[in-house]
C-alpha cells in the first residue's frame, strides 16, 4: 500500500516536494542497500542485550522464588522470570533508545512469549502423552489384543486396546457416513437455494454448534435407548456423535461454499447446466479442500468426545465389531474409565490409549488432506 503510494509520489514532482516528509529516500531505484534501515533484523548488540536480560531474569527469579519468598513450583518461577525479564528489557533498552523503541521491544517480547506459551502448551501435551504412553505402546499386544480376561493389576504385556481402537473407528465411520451427506446437504441448501427458511436453518445450525456434548448423549439416550428400547450399542454412540458433528460440518461447509466465486456458477448456468449439475460439477469440486477441512473439524470434534458415548455405548472389555449388537468400547471412553480408577497400571494403559488416539487422529487427518487435494491435472 505505502509502496504504491510512494511510487505514485515519485512520479509526480509536485507531490514529491509537497507530501514527502520522511527523511528516508522514497523511491526504490536510487536507494543504496546499506542506507536502508533494517526494521525486522536485530543487531548483535541487541541480541546480546536480550540474552543477557533473560539470563539475569532467570537468576533473579531463582533468588526470589527459592531464597526470599516461600514460592516453589515451576509455574511461579516462570511467571516471575517473565515479569523480571520484561522489566529488565524495558530498562536496558531505555538506556540508549527512545520511547518508541522501548515499547516496540516490550510488545515484541510479550507477543513472542505468548507464541512460545501456545507452542509449549501444545508440545507439552503431545510429548507428555507420548512419554507416559510409551510404556504401553511398546507392547505389541496393546495394539492387537483386547481387555477380556485382563484384570486391573495384570501387567502391560497382557491385554490391549484393539477393541477400543476398532470401536472408535466403527463409531466415527458411521458418524461420518451419516453427517457428510447431511452436513454438506444442509450447507448446499443454505448457500445454493437460500430463502427465508435457509436463514432459520442457519440460525439453528449455529445454535447447535454450541450444544454441550452431554446433551447430545442424553438426547440419544432418551430417544433411542429409553424411548425406542434400542440397546446401548456402537450405533447409538455413533448417532450421539453424529448429533455433535453435524452442526460443525454444516457450518464449516456453509462458510466454504459461500466463498466459491459466483461467476463460476453463472458461467455454468449460462452454458445451460441445471442447478444440480452446477452444484455437483462446479461448486463442490471447487470447494473440495475446504469441505475436507469441514469434515476434519467434525471428525476432530467427534473422535475425542467422551460424554455422548458414556451414556450410549456402554463399555465392553472385549472386541465387538457389530455396531448394532450390544455394548461397544471406544478410545475416549476407555481412557476415561481407566484413568480415573486410581490403579497405576490402568493409568498406564489409559496413557497408551491416549497416545494411540493422537496417532489415529493424525493418520485420519493426513489421509483426509491427501484425499481432498485439488487435482492438479484437471484444472
Amino acid at each position: 500500500m505505502t509502496i504504491e503510494l510512494e511510487h505514485a509520489a515519485s512520479q509526480t514532482p509536485v507531490g514529491r516536494t509537497a507530501t514527502l516528509v520522511r527523511s528516508e529516500p522514497a523511491s526504490n531505484d536510487v536507494v543504496d542497500d546499506a542506507l536502508r534501515r533494517q526494521l525486522s533484523t536485530t543487531t548483535a548488540e541487541q541480541r546480546f542485550e536480550l540474552a543477557g536480560c533473560w539470563i539475569a531474569a532467570a537468576a533473579l527469579s531463582w533468588l526470589v522464588c527459592a531464597r526470599l519468598m516461600p514460592w516453589d513450583g515451576t509455574v511461579v518461577f516462570v511467571l516471575v522470570t517473565f515479569v523480571v525479564g520484561v522489566t529488565l528489557i524495558a530498562v536496558i533498552t531505555s538506556l540508549d533508545a527512545g520511547r518508541p523503541e522501548v515499547s516496540d521491544r516490550l510488545v515484541s517480547t510479550v507477543v513472542h512469549s505468548a507464541a512460545l506459551l501456545v507452542g509449549v502448551a501444545l508440545a507439552s501435551t503431545i510429548i507428555f502423552v507420548l512419554v507416559q504412553g510409551f510404556g504401553g505402546m511398546v507392547h505389541v499386544n496393546t495394539w492387537v489384543d483386547d481387555m477380556s480376561g485382563v484384570g486391573p493389576r495384570d501387567p502391560l504385556d497382557r491385554g490391549g486396546i484393539a477393541h477400543a481402537i476398532v470401536g472408535s473407528l466403527i463409531e466415527i465411520g458411521i458418524a461420518v457416513a451419516v453427517t457428510i451427506p447431511l452436513g454438506i446437504g444442509t450447507a448446499i441448501y443454505m448457500t445454493e437455494i437460500g430463502g427465508r427458511f435457509a436463514t432459520i436453518v442457519r440460525t439453528i445450525v449455529e445454535a447447535m454448534t454450541a450444544l454441550p456434548s452431554i446433551v447430545a448423549g442424553l438426547f440419544i439416550y432418551t430417544t433411542l435407548i429409553v424411548g425406542l428400547g434400542m440397546p446401548r450399542s456402537g450405533l447409538a454412540a455413533a448417532m450421539a456423535l453424529s448429533v455433535m458433528m453435524l452442526p460443525i460440518i454444516a457450518r464449516a461447509s456453509d462458510v466454504v461454499l459461500r466463498v466459491v466465486p459466483g461467476n463460476l456458477r453463472e458461467a455454468s448456468l449460462a452454458l445451460g447446466a441445471s442447478r444440480w449439475r452446477t452444484v455437483w460439477h462446479i461448486v463442490l469440486p471447487t470447494a473440495r479442500p475446504g469441505l475436507a477441512t469441514a469434515v476434519i473439524l467434525g471428525v476432530a470434534r467427534g473422535i475425542g468426545e467422551t460424554s455422548p458415548v458414556l451414556l450410549t455405548s456402554g463399555t465392553a472389555a472385549f472386541m465387538v465389531t457389530d455396531p448394532t449388537d450390544g455394548v461397544m468400547n471406544s478410545l475416549p471412553l476407555f481412557i476415561f474409565s481407566t484413568v480415573r480408577s486410581g490403579e497405576p497400571l490402568y493409568i498406564d494403559r489409559a496413557y497408551a490409549a491416549a497416545a494411540i488416539l493422537l496417532l489415529l487422529v493424525l493418520i485420519l487427518f493426513v489421509s483426509a488432506r491427501l484425499l481432498a487435494r485439488p487435482r492438479k491435472g484437471s484444472r
Binding site: A56, L60, V64, L68, M69, P70, D72, G73, V84, T87, L88, V91, S94, L95, V144, D146, M147, S148, G149, V150, G151, P152, R153, D154, A162, H163, V166, L169, I225, V226, G229, R232, L310, L311, G314, T315, A316, A317, F318, M319, T321, G326, V327, L333, S337, V339, R340, S341, G342, E343, P344, Y346, I363, S367, L370, L371, R373, R375, K376, G377
Partner: protein, 539 residues
C-alpha cells in the same frame, strides 16, 4: 509438472488403499474369536465408580468361563437410574433408591422388580497432607467427633486442641485445614454423610440444614470440591495440598502412597480401614427385613458404627447390586439369569479374596448369606436357572470356612490393633495407607528408632538458630518430645514466636523489592538524567 502430478496422486491413492486394506485385515483377524459358551449370555451393568475396579477384576476372572459381562462406572445415581429405565441388566450402587433425590427428581426403580444384594465392602478413608519440616505426617489419628467437626468447619486448624488430644499430645503445626469434598454426586459422600447423620446429628444437621444423608456434600467455608475420587486424591497430593484432608476410597491413597487417618472406634482404638478391620465391623451390619419399609433389604449400619470390637473400622460400608428379580423382567432371559447367578457366585465367594489387594474388604459371613438369599431369587423367578451346587456352604470366601459356617475364621485371622493405637497411648510410628495385602500381625509395634534427631522445627531456616540460644521463643510440646524418640514417621513441630508464618511473606517481599531496586535503580536513574540533559539541551 502436469505429467508427474497424476502419478503422485495415483501413488498416494495406492498407499492409502493399502493402508485401508491393512486396517480392515487386522480388524478381521482380531474379530475372529472363539465362540462363547452356549449357556451364557452377555450381561451389562453400570453404576458405582467406587466398586468399578473390583468388578473389572471379577469380570476378567470369569471371562475364562465364557461369561461376557460389561460394566461401566458412571456413578451410583446413574447406575440406579439406568437400571430403573431397563437399560442395564444390573446396577451397582452404594446407597439404596432414595425415592426422591436432592433435586426433587424421582429416584426409584419404577415398576422393575429388584433386590439389593451386597457385593463388596470397604471403608471410607480420610487421606490428608500435613507436612512437618517438609516431611509428610503419616500416622495421624482422629476421633469421629473431630472428623465431623473438621468437615463441618468447626475445627479449622491442624493445631487444634481436639486433634492434639487424639494424637496423644502431639502438636501439629499451625496450618489451616482445607477439607476436600466431592463436587459430583457420589456414593462415598452418601456413606460418609450417613455416618455423620447417625453418629453426630448435633454437629451434622445444623451444618447441613436438614436431616439425613446426601450425595452432594454442602460446600461451605474453606472447603474445596473436586470431581471424582481421583481428583480429590490429586488435589490432596498436589504440591499446594499442604493442610488438606478429604474422604476417598481406601484404594486411592494406597495407590498414591498417601497416608490415611486412623479413626477411633468404640473400643478406644484408632484403626485403619484395612480389609480385616472393615470386615470385622461389618459383622454387625443388619439387613432391614421389614417388607413394608421402603428401605426393605437395605443395610442398617448403626451396629457397624458402634461396634465394640477393637479391630472394627467405624466408617465401613458395602455396595449393593441391584438384581433384577422379576419373573417377567423385559430384559432378562434364562441365559442372562444364569450368567448373573454364576458371576455373582464367583464374586461372593472366591472373588472376595481379591478384595484386599485393591483396598476393598471381603464381605463377612452374615452379608454373604444375605447375598445368597437374594441371588436365589433369580432361580425362583426362572426355574430353568441352575442354582445347584451354588450355595453358601460351597463358598470359598476368605473370611469363613466353607462348609462350617459356625466357625468364625475372620475373628482368628484379623489382626488386633497395636497397643500404641489405643486411646491415650502412642501414637504408633508406623505408616498408614500402605499395601493392605500384608497386614502386620497383632501387637507389632516395632518402629525403628531415629535416635534423638526428632524435633525438627518449621521450614524457616532463619528461625532454627534461635531455638538453642533462646528457648523462651519456642513453644515446644514437652510430652511430644518424649514420644518422638521411637518414631520414624513424623517430626515434632516446634512453633517459634519469632518465626510466624505471616512474617516470612512480609519480610520476603520487602527483600524482593529491595533487590530489584538495587539492580534497576542505577539504570533507571541513568536513563532519567540522560533524558533530562537531552531535554535541556534541546530546549
Amino acid at each position: 509438472m502436469n505429467t508427474s502430478a497424476p502419478h503422485t496422486t495415483a501413488r498416494t491413492r495406492a498407499v492409502l488403499t493399502a493402508l485401508v486394506a491393512l486396517l480392515s485385515a487386522a480388524l478381521l483377524v482380531m474379530s475372529a474369536r472363539p465362540a462363547q459358551a452356549v449357556a451364557y449370555a452377555q450381561i451389562e451393568g453400570s453404576g458405582s465408580t467406587w466398586s468399578e475396579v473390583i468388578l473389572q477384576q471379577w469380570i476378567s476372572d470369569v471371562d475364562a468361563n465364557g461369561m461376557k459381562v460389561t460394566y461401566n462406572g458412571g456413578g451410583s445415581s446413574q447406575g440406579r437410574k439406568a437400571f430403573g429405565q431397563n437399560v442395564t441388566d444390573f446396577g451397582i450402587s452404594e446407597i439404596p433408591y432414595q425415592g426422591k433425590d436432592e433435586f426433587g427428581a424421582v429416584d426409584s426403580a419404577g415398576s422393575r422388580e429388584f433386590a439389593y444384594m451386597p457385593i463388596i465392602a470397604g471403608g471410607t478413608a480420610f487421606t490428608y497432607q500435613v507436612k512437618v519440616g517438609g516431611k509428610l505426617v503419616k500416622n495421624l489419628r482422629l476421633s469421629g467427633e473431630t472428623i465431623a467437626k473438621i468437615f463441618t468447619n468447626q475445627i479449622t486448624n491442624w493445631n487444634d486442641a481436639a486433634i492434639t488430644k487424639d494424637n496423644n499430645g502431639r502438636v501439629l503445626p499451625s496450618l489451616p485445614i482445607v477439607p476436600v469434598l466431592r463436587s459430583d454426586g457420589s456414593g462415598t459422600t452418601a456413606q460418609f454423610t450417613t455416618w455423620l447423620d447417625k453418629m453426630f446429628p448435633s454437629i451434622w444437621q445444623p451444618f447441613f440444614g436438614k436431616t439425613g444423608l446426601t450425595s452432594y456434600f454442602p460446600r461451605k467455608g474453606k472447603a474445596i470440591a473436586a470431581a471424582g475420587s481421583d481428583q480429590v486424591m490429586n488435589t490432596i497430593a498436589s504440591s499446594a495440598g499442604n493442610g488438606t484432608i478429604g474422604y476417598v476410597e481406601y484404594s486411592y491413597p494406597v495407590n498414591k502412597k498417601y497416608p490415611v487417618v486412623k479413626v477411633l472406634n468404640k473400643a478406644g482404638y484408632y484403626v485403619e480401614p484395612t480389609q480385616y478391620n472393615v470386615a470385622v465391623a461389618l459383622t454387625q451390619a443388619k439387613i432391614n427385613q421389614d417388607a413394608s419399609s421402603p428401605q426393605y433389604l437395605t443395610s442398617i449400619l448403626d451396629g457397624v458404627y458402634t461396634s465394640g470390637d477393637k479391630r472394627s473400622y467405624p466408617l465401613s460400608s458395602y455396595s449393593y447390586m441391584l438384581l433384577p428379580t422379576g419373573a417377567n423382567d423385559q430384559r432378562m432371559t434364562t441365559a442372562k439369569r444364569q450368567t448373573l447367578t454364576d458371576f455373582m457366585f464367583y464374586s461372593l465367594c472366591e472373588g472376595q479374596s481379591k478384595a484386599g489387594a485393591y483396598g476393598y474388604s471381603s464381605l463377612p459371613l452374615n452379608l454373604v448369606q444375605a447375598g445368597f438369599d437374594q441371588l436365589k431369587k433369580l432361580s425362583s423367578a426362572d426355574p430353568a436357572v441352575d442354582f445347584a451346587n451354588r450355595d453358601v456352604t460351597k463358598c470359598n470366601n476368605p473370611t469363613f470356612v466353607a462348609g462350617d459356617l459356625t466357625k468364625n475364621k475372620l475373628a482368628e485371622i484379623a489382626p488386633q490393633p497395636a497397643a500404641c493405637d489405643k486411646q491415650g497411648a502412642g501414637p504408633c510410628g508406623t505408616e498408614t495407607g500402605t499395601a493392605p495385602t500384608t497386614p502386620k500381625p497383632a501387637g507389632d509395634n516395632k518402629a525403628t528408632a531415629t535416635g534423638g534427631a526428632a524435633p525438627v522445627a518449621g521450614a524457616d531456616p532463619a528461625a532454627t538458630a534461635p531455638v538453642a540460644a533462646d528457648p523462651e521463643t519456642g513453644v515446644a510440646a514437652p510430652e511430644a518430645e518424649t514420644i518422638a524418640t521411637d518414631q520414624t514417621v513424623t517430626a515434632v513441630p516446634t512453633e517459634l514466636v519469632a518465626g510466624r508464618a505471616g512474617d516470612t511473606k512480609v519480610f520476603g517481599s520487602l527483600a524482593v523489592i529491595e533487590l530489584l531496586a538495587i539492580i534497576l535503580a542505577p539504570a533507571v536513574g541513568a536513563t532519567y538524567f540522560k533524558r533530562r540533559v537531552r531535554r535541556k539541551l534541546g530546549a
